[in-house]
């Protein structure tokens, strides 16, 4: 409270040196609950220590480690007033599994949207022409033709063998285990690994 008073005093003076950022806390089922909002996104209720409830019509959920730990350290953020910027962090969730299944489903939906990485099932053809590499693939999101700028740097195999492909449009595709692809597909991607 003391700090809040100090802040108010500063505001009275017309100076706000504190840029108004909220302090991030650890979110647990005890202090936070999440709902599907009317618009199909995530709403949130935050219970303060003294019992006051803060409601957020919409929050955004981010992964701290999208590749290495997708369901841990989730960052829950406000929607910022300034466009093109992420809002302040309300808090962090240690494990998604801290919350009930309904909430986990809600997170998964939002995260699948925010980290849209279809898995490649079959590689139809790969053609290199005019400095670009054209890929014709079947993915979990359907059939797509995408273009890679510099395949040797935009196809990356992680230490666990999972392969990430970034195309020139900003799409990202994955292959969880290239060896499990059919042999014709494997041969096409193998050269770049």
């Amino acid at each position: 409270m003391n700090e809040k008073e100090k802040k108010d005093e500063l505001l009275d003076d017309g100076i706000n040196l504190d840029d108004g950022k909220r302090t991030s806390i650890r979110l647990t089922p005890e202090n936070a609950s999440f709902f599907r909002s009317e618009g199909g996104l995530i709403s949130m209720e935050l219970r303060g220590e003294s019992g006051e409830v803060e409601r957020f019509e919409r929050v955004a959920v981010f992964r701290s480690f999208p590749i290495t730990a997708p369901d841990e350290f989730l960052s829950v953020r406000e929607i910022s007033v300034i466009k093109n910027e992420h809002g302040d962090e309300i808090g962090m969730i240690r494990h998604a599994s801290d919350f009930d299944e309904e909430t986990q489903r809600l997170f998964a939906e939002e995260l699948d949207r925010r980290y849209f990485t279809p898995e490649i099932l079959k590689i139809g053809s790969v053609k290199e022409k005019f400095g670009y590499s054209y890929w014709d693939c079947e993915t979990t999101a359907g059939h797509i033709v995408f273009v890679i700028n510099n395949p040797f740097s935009n196809i990356r195999a992680m230490t666990d063998g999972k392969v990430y492909i970034n195309d020139i449009d900003g799409n990202c595709f994955t292959v969880s285990d290239p060896k499990k692809l059919d042999s014709a597909s494997y041969r096409k991607i193998e050269i770049y690994l």
Binding site: G14, I15, N16, L17, S37, E38, G39, G40, L41, E57, R58, A60, P66, I79, K83, N84, D112, R113, R114, Y115, F116, T117, P118, K129, F130, G131, Y132, Y134, T139, T140, A141, G142, H143, I144, V147, N149, F152, S153, D167, I168, D169, G170, N171, C172, I191, Y192
Partner: protein
């Protein structure tokens, strides 16, 4: 940029049903729904947004009651969100690379339509990154679609460029014709020699020495002649090649310098350099080497075919039957080999990158005691690279002989069939030899021919990149009859709006009046548009709306030469060109006398440190020269501005990166410099602006405050906050501020 796509019939019908009486303004695609890629469309009328997919209406968002449209760039896609009656919704998702710029316009349009439902559609002039015809991406940083470009157009332009060099460039073709003729005549003469003089069976080898001698002389002289020609050809082609490339480079460079900053900044330095260096090189190589070669190989191939058909059609068949097979094999071999090699190079690069990385960060490595880990990391990368190289070489060494064998398959067939004929006495030994020689003529270009399409496409891409620059019209151009005025220094900024991308304004409705000789300090958070305003006053860009007037004349009407010659700039990062200090000071007026230079340096407080240098004013600075400190460079830049003697002076963070001691020296120098000139100074450190007559505070591209120091402190607005904040950090001592308030 395309903002009105044609709807598929089903979607169009649905839209017509649900949006009766509304005017369709935009129609753009969206790409992702749920977990799937789809071909959906978002239609914008003057009343609402409609999300359509396969003839179905998925969502309607009325403008009435909607606010807070926003695009979120996510990983792998973008989302377009809206809030209607307090409820946030995801409208649709799209692929960023294809549609982000489009949706930025839609976003802006939606915001406008919410406020004024019947406004005109806005547009943007941003080029597409994709060929509208085939949907493939353009060549990097260009608007060239290698699949759809008009190849003849490129060849025609190329031909037009060779003016003055054509005669010289024809020479390789003339030589080529000779060499084709000779390559066919020589085997024919040899056949004559073998058949007439050497063949043991006929027993005619004894007589007619003169005839044999003639053949020998013919062969030797043809060889000599051919060599002489080839010397001439090499000389001519290197001469014409050099001239061609020099002319091309100069033309391109001249054009690049004339382009406005906005079109140059769209491209990276690397891209521009590669157009001047690499692309012109590719063009030159194509014109002087590839083209004659294609000609020679093509013609000899055809001639060999005809000649052999006339000598023995069946044998000809033997030669050409394995050709498709060999070509296929060679192509396959090289395409695999190329990929493997690229992989090898890539790994090698990785090794180099790692070396560079650790060497430049060696202090960090040592500080954290990571030497062992780094060695291990390096060992692994280099081992990977070595293994790849090993594998590649093994592959090459194994398969290359096989491929060469396959290529020569035809020769073996000829040998086999030819010998059969020979034994039967149906063919002379010399003729067999002749046919064998022709077979070689056919086979040798085969391997080379497989690379022709690649070379041609490389040339076409490079050439179109070069022509793209050559044909670009400068955006900031002089009007028909520009005025040369003598600037007094009055600047009127009249309600200007400007954005580097037209849909994303950096400055909105900015108006400022600056009187001659005034010093104006421009203050604001980073990103508030300070530098942009200055860029506009220097006319590095043209405003989108409104006008900037200098002495009552619109700057668009003032010739750029007159404008720039009366403006001086000192930037935060001073760029010194490779050359002596003397040359760098006199950069803007090369005719300056030594006295002027020394005086300017003295005024800029630079004279003393220059005299401390071993070679004084003749010390070489810049990339490979003596390295000066930031403050010293800054003072040279000030001297550069002083000698230029501009009526309008611009200081963009001129002292931001310096310590207080140096800043004081520079402040003194600037003090002398700003006298009798209109000065615009941007500064983060407010103490720099203590002498400003007026301060202009920009906030998010708008004028927040404008007035004297005292007025603004009175206002207790943004400037007051900034002063207080800096005071807290100790950048501006309290006493100083109070003194200022007192004097103001």
């Amino acid at each position: 940029m395309k903002l009105m796509y044609d709807l598929p019939e089903a979607d169009a019908r649905t839209l017509a049903d649900v949006s009766k009486g509304e005017g369709l303004m935009y129609c753009v695609p969206y790409n992702i729904e749920g977990e799937r890629f789809v071909k959906g469309f978002l239609a914008v009328t003057n009343r609402a947004l409609y999300k359509l997919l396969d003839g179905e209406l998925l969502l309607r968002v009325p403008f009435a009651g909607s606010d807070d449209f926003r695009i979120e760039v996510m990983y792998g896609s973008c989302g377009f969100y809206v809030r209607t009656e307090g409820v946030s919704r995801l409208i649709c998702r799209f692929i960023s690379g294809r549609n982000l710029a489009r949706y930025s316009v839609i976003l802006r349009a939606c915001e406008i339509l919410c406020e004024q439902p019947d406004s005109e559609p806005i547009t943007n002039s941003l080029p597409e990154r994709f060929c509208p015809k085939c949907g493939r991406p353009y060549v990097n940083n260009t608007t060239i679609c290698p699949y759809c470009m008009d190849k003849w157009e490129v060849y025609k332009k190329m031909f037009a460029m060779t003016k003055g060099l054509r005669l010289m460039m024809c020479f390789p073709f003339i030589v080529a014709i000779f060499s084709v003729i000779f390559s066919f005549v020589v085997p024919w003469i040899e056949a004559k020699a073998v058949n007439g003089y050497l063949e043991p069976l006929t027993g005619t080898a004894s007589g007619d020495r003169a005839g044999f001698l003639l053949i020998v002389v013919a062969i030797v002289s043809i060889d000599l002649f051919q060599r002489a020609l080839s010397v001439l050809q090499s000389r001519f082609s290197s001469l014409s090649g050099n001239r061609f490339i020099q002319m091309l480079e100069n033309l391109l460079y001249e054009k690049l310098e004339s382009l406005s900053l906005s079109s140059l900044q769209r491209r990276s330095t690397g891209d521009l350099m590669s157009r001047v260096n690499t692309d012109t090189g590719v063009m030159q190589d194509f014109v002087t080497n590839q083209l004659p070669n294609i000609f020679v190989q093509g013609v000899s191939f055809l001639v060999a075919l005809i000649v052999m058909l006339t000598i023995n059609p069946l044998m000809c068949l033997f030669i050409f039957v394995p050709v498709p097979f060999s070509v296929f094999l060679v192509k396959k071999f090289w395409s695999t080999m190329n990929l493997k090699n690229r992989r090898g190079w890539n790994l090698e690069n990785k090794v180099n990158r790692q070396l560079q990385d650790t060497f430049s960060g060696i202090r960090v490595v040592k500080c954290y005691g990571q030497e062992k880990n780094e060695v291990e990391r390096f060992r692994q990368t280099s081992m990977k690279s070595a293994k790849q190289t090993e594998r590649n070489e093994m592959l090459f060494d194994t398969f290359f002989p096989i491929v060469s064998f396959a290529i020569r398959l035809g020769s073996y067939l000829i040998l086999f069939y030819g010998n059969m004929l020979l034994f039967r006495g149906a063919m002379a030994l010399g003729t067999l030899h002749q046919i064998n020689a022709y077979a070689n003529i056919v086979y040798s270009p085969l391997v080379w021919m497989t690379s022709v399409p690649r070379n041609v496409s490389r040339f076409l891409t490079s050439a179109s990149k070069v022509f793209e620059i050559m044909e670009e019209t400068p955006e900031v151009g002089d009007i028909g009859l520009p005025i040369d005025i003598k600037i007094e220094g009055e600047i009127k900024v009249k309600n200007i709006t400007f954005g580097y991308e037209s849909y994303d304004p950096v400055l909105t409705n900015v108006s400022v009046d600056i009187h001659p000789g005034e010093m104006i300090g421009i203050v604001g958070h980073s990103g508030s548009g300070k530098t942009t305003l200055i860029n506009l006053i220097m006319r590095l860009y043209d405003v989108n709306n409104g006008a900037i007037e200098i002495d009552g004349v619109n700057i668009r009407d003032i010739s750029q030469a007159a404008l720039r010659s009366q403006m001086g700039v000192v930037l935060q990062e001073t760029f010194l060109f490779a050359g002596t200090i003397r040359e760098n000071i006199a950069y803007a007026c090369p005719g300056a006398s030594d006295e002027d230079i020394v005086n300017a340096a003295k005024t800029a407080n630079a004279h003393d440190f220059i005299m401390d240098l071993p070679q004084g004013y003749d010390t070489v600075v810049g990339a490979n020269g003596y390295s000066l400190s930031g403050g010293e460079r800054q003072r040279i830049a000030i001297a550069r501005a002083i000698i230029h003697n501009p009526k309008i002076l611009i200081l963009d963070e001129a002292t931001a990166a310096l310590d207080t001691e140096t800043e004081k020296l520079i402040q003194d120098a600037l003090q002398k410099l700003v006298r009798n000139r209109t000065t615009l100074a941007i500064a983060h450190r407010l103490s720099t602006l203590r002498n400003a007559d007026k301060l202009l505070v920009l906030d998010h591209g708008r004028v927040a405050e404008f007035g004297t120091h005292a007025e603004l402190l009175e206002n207790k607005g943004i400037y007051y906050k900034l002063v207080m904040a800096q005071q807290k950090m100790g950048a501006m001592p309290k006493a100083d501020k109070e003194k200022k308030v007192a004097t103001a």
